[in-house]
Symmetry: C2
Subunit: 344 residues, 2 copies
């Protein structure tokens, strides 16, 4: 792997530097070609850099930032007051070519808006979309978008998402001629709101897209499609619902049962078997696929879950590494040129 530099907004997310800095050190340790620019308050960062291996420290630089965008700030206000914030500086480092991609666990709306202002959308894209690779039952992954960047989407946006998702599936997941579906409340053509039915009509007559029709929520993890497209409101609620259910199951598996006293050997056997079962569900654990990619920009931007723990934030850094290496923005730009109608 060639040398690669990423900029991190270490102040964002529910836990700030206490999670993002240890995760950065973890990523640096496991990836010897990686360099990281940690953007944030140096005083908040430095306590977590004590006793860091010197060979790792040489590949890390702290970039001071004066302010942090609050998680509950209204995006429009946050963007106006963004100068000097850790999120904006991280994006500007990408714009200036100092970094090839950036990661933030901060305010999603602000990240989306600032990324548009600083990095600009690709030619032919109205609004970027948040995308993730969801592991599914067939032991491969589904590209799902939008996950919350756009609360409401018209049919044109949904079609653009479908194109970007297909490029991701082909170039990053490695699926030739990937299947593309729209998330809807029924599989029949007559179902759902106008914007989805209009997008379906366009996708059906787009020869470069392998459009397979509507899928319902229960097919999210079945692997029936390689790309699943929806608006950001539905995508966000759906993904969080799925995560909530999975976490509930994993916690039930790990909990100690009804509270009745049991013989020691039953407890031991139970624990051993529970571990085995939990292992079989492990690939569905939300911590393992943290990191949504903001697609449609002239640069790589990864949004980490705000509540991400160290392991999950490290996964988001790894996602950024992959997106940069696979040249996702460049490949999307090339495909868009071939697929989208020319403006005239």
């Amino acid at each position: 792997m060639a040398r690669l530099t990423l900029a991190l907004d270490v102040m964002g997310g529910d836990f700030g530097p206490s999670v993002t800095v240890p995760a950065s050190l973890q990523a640096l340790a496991s990836n010897p070609e990686l360099n990281l620019l940690l953007v944030g308050d140096p005083d908040a960062i430095s306590p977590y850099l004590n006793r860091t291996d010197p060979s790792v420290m040489t590949r890390l630089r702290v970039i001071p930032a004066e302010s942090v965008i609050a998680g509950d700030a209204r995006p429009s206000q946050a963007i106006r007051a963004s100068r000097g914030s850790s999120m904006r500086i991280a994006l500007e480092l990408v714009k200036q070519g100092e970094a090839q991609g950036c990661i933030s666990a901060g305010n999603t709306g602000a990240l989306m808006g600032l990324a548009k202002v600083v990095l600009k959308p690709l030619e032919g894209i109205e609004r970027p979309a948040l995308m993730t690779l969801l592991p599914h039952q067939q032991r491969n992954r589904t590209v799902v978008l939008d996950l919350g960047a756009n609360v409401a989407c018209d049919s044109t946006m949904l079609v653009q998402f479908a194109v970007m998702g297909a490029v991701m599936a082909e170039e990053v997941v490695g699926i030739p001629d990937p299947r593309v579906a729209l998330l809807n409340i029924g599989e029949e053509e007559t179902k759902g709101p106008d914007n989805i039915r209009e997008a379906a009509a366009v996708l059906k007559r787009t020869p470069t897209i392998n459009y397979i029709g509507y899928l319902e929520g229960n097919d999210l993890l079945t692997g029936k499609t390689d790309v699943l497209v929806c608006d950001g409101f539905v995508g966000n609620v759906t993904l969080k619902t799925m995560e909530g259910v999975i976490r509930l199951f994993l916690s039930l598996l790990n909990s100690s049962g009804e509270g009745k006293k049991k013989a020691w050997w039953v407890m031991l056997l139970g624990k051993w078997l529970q571990k085995r079962v939990a292992k079989r569900f492990g690939h569905l654990n939300p911590d393992q696929y943290n990191g949504a990619c903001l697609l449609g920009l002239r640069g790589t931007v990864i949004k980490s879950h705000g509540a991400a723990n160290q392991r999950a934030f490290a996964v988001a850094i790894e996602q950024a590494v992959q997106a940069v290496q696979r040249q996702v923005p460049e490949r999307i730009a090339a495909r868009l040129e071939a697929v989208l109608p020319k403006s005239d």
Copy 2:
């Protein structure tokens, strides 16, 4: 329990009489005060009535219907051509007072539209909503609506759903002063689309509603609220996503693992543990809470899942029994009068 008669559209759903008739017999057997009117094609029904206990047969009557509304029919067309269909006749039996409630596993849009035409909405309700009682982590139930009756909802409809949901939680689940939340993509006030933020503003200043704010998808099963309100598109996708994930887990639990050969005692222990775990998840099994109630009508209408099996359809019948016994429509009407703004 007093004598109670329900009308069943036995032709609806993916499996028709092969599921609905055996489920009816099961319900009759377990509920000696229940009478059922089976509406459908007598030739399709009668094979499933062979060898039925005579004491059960006396509480069952077949009402002939000439046609069936197709599951994929466009609701507007289906309603125009509905005369003589099993779904319409079942609703008319309620209208005429022959039955106190009805159940169908057929086309949701058509059922919603026909119920509005035949039974009429309650005073003050624009559009009925599909509601279900979802079991949650705290071993109680959350009232969730709308689950698909209304693809798009304005803020007024969401407020009406909140009122109806609160009545359900109080009267049927038995929760005094139930907590009411709106499903959204963040907990901060600034999050989400206009209709949700407007509904939040109204609910906040409605003293008879215990409004607690926004909840996200991951809180669907945590029991943080007693009533969860959303539009029908999001509700449908969310519920199906949840069901899909739960079914995936239950199937993984029951599957035999990676296919490696195992010692007999490992297999035995594995089976034993799987049973224990499955038991702890049992209350979340979708088959156990099938049956969504169409709230806001002058009568009880239960929509069963189209893919319901015999057990699940019997649960839907039981839901109808409960709704009639608890006088859900009457109680909602009374509460609406007190809560909703008078039209002047």
